[in-house]
C-alpha cells in the first residue's frame, strides 16, 4: 500500500465537492420536516432539478440560469406533493414515494435529446490571495460558487430556525399544528412554502450533479443521492449543523475509499464500498444520543378545526 500517494489537501478539497449535492438537498428536507411534513420525494425532485438545470444551462449557455431553472423545477414538482398532502389530504409517505417514481420517469422523458451533450462549464471562484494560501487555499477557497452556497445555506437555515420569528412559527407548526392553528398561524400556507423550499433545494442539489460534479446528463444519474439526503436528516436528528457534518463524513469517506483503492489498500474492496454508509450512520447515531427527537407533528395530516 502506498498511502503517501494520497494527497490530504486534494482529498479534503474533493470532499467539499462530493458533499455539496447531498448537503443542499438535505437542508431543504430538514426545513420541510421541521414544518411537520415528511416528503420522501427528494430523489425525484433532485433528478428533476438535474435535467431542468441541465436543459436550461445548455439552452441559454449560462450555468447560473441553469441553477435557477433547477430550483424552479424542483419547487414546481414539489407543488404536486403539496397539493396532494395539504389539500387532498393524501398520505405523505405514499405521495412522497410516488413523487420519486414520477420524477425519475419524467426526467428520463425530458432528458431525451440531452444525452452526450456537454453543459457550459461553471467557473471556479478563485478567491484572490485566499486561494493562494498553502493547503487551506485549495481546500477552502478554490471551489465553484455552489460549494459556498451550500455552506451559506446551512448557516442560514440554522439561524433562521433558531433565532427568527419565521423559524419559530415553522417549528410551532411542525411540533403541534393544532396549537399553531389555534394561535392563528396559517398551517397549510407555512407547510406549502416549506415544501417548495425543500423542492428548490433538492433541485439545486440535483443540478450540482449534472452541471458540475459529473457534468453531463444521463438517466437516473442522481443514483440514490436523494435517499442519502433523507437519511442524513433523520440521523442528524433534524439539526442543520449535524446535517453538514453528516454530508462531509459521507462525501469524505466516499472519496477516501476510492483513494484508498487507487493507493492499493490491503482492505477488501467490498468493505471500502460500504464504509461511507456505515461510518456516517454510526457517527451520527452516537452523536444523537441526547434527547433530540423528531418534530411531534411529523407526517401527521392536518385538518383545520374551527
Amino acid at each position: 500500500m502506498d498511502l503517501g500517494s494520497i494527497n490530504p489537501v486534494l482529498l479534503l478539497a474533493s470532499l467539499m465537492v462530493a458533499a455539496t449535492p447531498i448537503l443542499i438537498a438535505a437542508l431543504g428536507e430538514l426545513v420541510v420536516e421541521r414544518a411537520g411534513v415528511l416528503n420522501l420525494g427528494v430523489e425525484g425532485m433532485m433528478i428533476t432539478g438535474a435535467i431542468c438545470g441541465f436543459a436550461a444551462a445548455v439552452g441559454t449557455g449560462s450555468p447560473v440560469l441553469g441553477f435557477i431553472a433547477a430550483a424552479a423545477g424542483g419547487a414546481g414538482l414539489s407543488l404536486l406533493f403539496a397539493f396532494l398532502t395539504q389539500f387532498a389530504l393524501a398520505n405523505q409517505v405514499a405521495s412522497g414515494l410516488a413523487l420519486t417514481l414520477f420524477g425519475l420517469g419524467m426526467s428520463a422523458l425530458l432528458g431525451q435529446g440531452y444525452q452526450g451533450i456537454k453543459p457550459p462549464p461553471t467557473d471556479k471562484l478563485d478567491i484572490p490571495l485566499l486561494a493562494d494560501i498553502p493547503a487551506l487555499g485549495p481546500i477552502l477557497f478554490n471551489h465553484d460558487i455552489m460549494v459556498y452556497f451550500g455552506l451559506a445555506l446551512c448557516a442560514a437555515v440554522w439561524a433562521m430556525l433558531k433565532y427568527s420569528r419565521a423559524g419559530l412559527i415553522l417549528r410551532a407548526v411542525g411540533e403541534n399544528h393544532d396549537a399553531a392553528h389555534a394561535l392563528g398561524y396559517k398551517v397549510v400556507r407555512v407547510r406549502v412554502l416549506a415544501i417548495m423550499f425543500g423542492g428548490a433545494c433538492a433541485g439545486l442539489g440535483g443540478a450540482y450533479i449534472s452541471l458540475i460534479r459529473v457534468p453531463q446528463w444521463t438517466e437516473g444519474m442522481t443514483a440514490g443521492a436523494g435517499w442519502i439526503a433523507l437519511a442524513l436528516v433523520v440521523f442528524a436528528s433534524w439539526k442543520a449543523g449535524r446535517v453538514l457534518l453528516g454530508a462531509w463524513l459521507f462525501g469524505g469517506v466516499t472519496v477516501l475509499q476510492l483513494n484508498l483503492q487507487a493507493a492499493g489498500s490491503a482492505l477488501p474492496v467490498e468493505y471500502l464500498s460500504m464504509s461511507p454508509y456505515l461510518i456516517t450512520i454510526l457517527v451520527l447515531v452516537i452523536m444523537s444520543a441526547d434527547k433530540s427527537r423528531a418534530p411531534a407533528s411529523l407526517g401527521r395530516i392536518f385538518r383545520a378545526s374551527q
Binding site: R213, Q216, T218, V255, L258, Q261, A262, A263, P268, E270
Partner: protein
C-alpha cells in the same frame, strides 16, 4: 344473414391476415443493462438494433428494455419478452447469464443470445468481442504517452472479461514503457456517472495522467477534461464528443453485422447454438480514430499493432508471461488458449493489488 356472412368473412379475412403477418415478421428482443443513451456499451447495442430494423424493414419487429438490473429483475424482464412472443432475444450483459439460461429452459422454441457469457443450451448462443485486442492498442498508446508513469484504470466488476482487459492493457503499456505502474479502482457498477467521475478524479489526484475505463459512461472523460493534461479512451463507443483531448482513441463494439446475421438465421430456420468470439480481424472490435494529440510515431506503432492482430500475426497474450505471484504461465512464444482467457482470474506479473472476490 348477409350482414352476418359479411362479418364472418371479414373476421376470417382479418384472422388470416393477422396470422400471415405473424408468420412474416420475426420479433427480436433486446435486454439492456444501461440506458440507451449511456454513450457507451448499451448505446452500441442499440445501434445494432436500429441497424436490424433498417436492414429488414417490415420483416422484423424489435422490442427492447433498458436499464435492467442484473439479478431477479432480469429474469422477469426476459421472461416477459418471451411471453410477448419474441422469436429471438439478445441479453447484453454478463450478469444476465443465469437469468437467460433459466428462461431459455422454459421457452425451448425461443432463441436466446447472451453477450459475453460462457454457458450455452440448445437454444442459447453466446457472443462476445475480443476487447482485449483493442485494449492492447490502448495500453501501447497509454504507455508511450504517460509522463507520470502512472496509469489509472476504472474497473467495473471482477469478472474474467474485465481482468483480461486490465492484463492486456498492462502487458502492452509495460512493453512500451517499462516504468509504467497501474492504479486500479473497482467501481462495482457498469454505469454510475457520479461514481465514475469520482473514481477518475481520485486517480488523477494520485498522479495518473492516463485514465483507462471499463465502465460505460463518459463521466471519466469529463473529469479528465476538467483536470487538463490527462488522456482517456472511448469505451465501447467512440465518445467522439471529447476529441481530440482528452479522448485520444477508443475501442468500438460493432454488433450490427452479427445481429443481422443471427436474425437472418432465425428467419431461415438455420439458427443453431454456437459460441462467437470475434476481434479486430472480422470487425467486431474497432479502434476509433487516433487523434493528433498522439505523436505520429506512436500512432504508427499502434496501428501496426492493430494490423498484426487483425491478420493473426500477433496475439496479445504471447509468452513469456508470468502470473502475479511469479509462477510461470506462458513459455516463450506460447499463446494463451481461449479457455484460459475466458476464465481468467489472475493478474499478470507486475500488477499490484488483489482482485476482489
Amino acid at each position: 344473414m348477409t350482414l352476418l356472412r359479411k362479418l364472418a368473412t371479414a373476421a376470417v379475412a382479418l384472422g388470416l391476415a393477422s396470422s400471415a403477418m405473424a408468420e412474416d415478421t420475426t420479433k427480436v428482443g433486446f435486454i439492456y443493462v444501461g440506458p440507451v443513451g449511456d454513450g457507451g456499451w448499451t448505446y452500441e447495442h442499440e445501434q445494432g438494433r436500429l441497424a436490424l430494423e433498417e436492414h429488414f424493414g417490415d420483416k422484423v419487429e424489435t422490442v427492447f428494455q433498458e436499464s435492467v438490473k442484473e439479478g431477479p429483475e432480469a429474469e422477469r424482464a426476459i421472461r416477459n419478452m418471451a411471453l410477448e412472443g419474441a422469436d429471438l432475444i439478445f441479453t447484453t450483459s454478463f450478469g444476465f447469464m443465469e437469468p437467460t439460461l433459466a428462461v431459455a429452459k422454459q421457452f425451448p422454441d425461443v432463441k436466446f443470445e447472451h453477450a459475453t457469457g460462457f454457458k450455452t443450451l440448445p437454444n442459447v448462443s453466446t457472443y462476445s468481442a475480443r476487447f482485449y485486442e483493442g485494449r492492447a492498442v490502448q495500453g501501447h498508446i497509454a504507455g508511450k504517452m504517460t509522463e507520470s508513469n502512472i496509469i489509472g484504470y476504472i474497473a467495473s466488476y471482477p469478472i474474467p472479461e474485465v481482468i483480461r482487459g486490465i492484463n492486456s492493457a498492462y502487458i502492452h503499456a509495460r512493453k512500451a514503457n517499462p516504468d509504467v505502474e497501474f492504479k486500479i479502482i473497482w467501481a462495482y457498477t457498469w454505469f454510475d456517472p457520479a461514481k465514475e467521475a469520482d473514481a477518475a478524479t481520485a486517480l488523477i489526484e494520485q498522479g495518473a495522467d492516463v485514465i483507462l475505463q471499463h465502465t460505460d459512461s463518459t463521466a471519466p472523460q469529463a473529469a479528465a477534461e476538467k483536470a487538463g493534461n490527462v488522456i482517456t479512451f472511448g469505451q465501447a463507443s467512440d465518445m467522439a464528443e471529447y476529441k481530440p483531448m482528452p479522448r485520444v482513441s477508443s475501442i468500438i463494439d460493432n454488433w450490427k453485422p452479427y445481429y443481422i446475421a443471427r436474425t437472418q438465421a432465425v428467419m431461415d430456420g438455420t439458427w443453431e447454438s454456437q459460441q462467437t468470439w470475434d476481434g479486430i480481424g472480422p470487425g467486431m472490435v474497432g479502434i476509433g480514430e487516433i487523434t493528433d494529440a498522439v505523436p505520429e510515431d506512436v500512432k504508427t506503432e499502434a496501428l501496426a499493432l492493430k494490423e498484426a492482430m487483425a491478420n493473426g500475426d500477433y496475439h496479445p497474450f504471447t509468452g513469456p508471461l508470468k502470473k502475479q505471484d511469479g509462477s510461470d504461465w506462458l513459455a516463450e512464444g506460447e499463446v494463451a488458449d481461449d479457455g484460459t482467457l475466458l476464465g481468467m482470474d489472475f493478474y499478470v506479473e507486475g500488477l499490484t493489488g488483489d482482485i476482489p472476490n
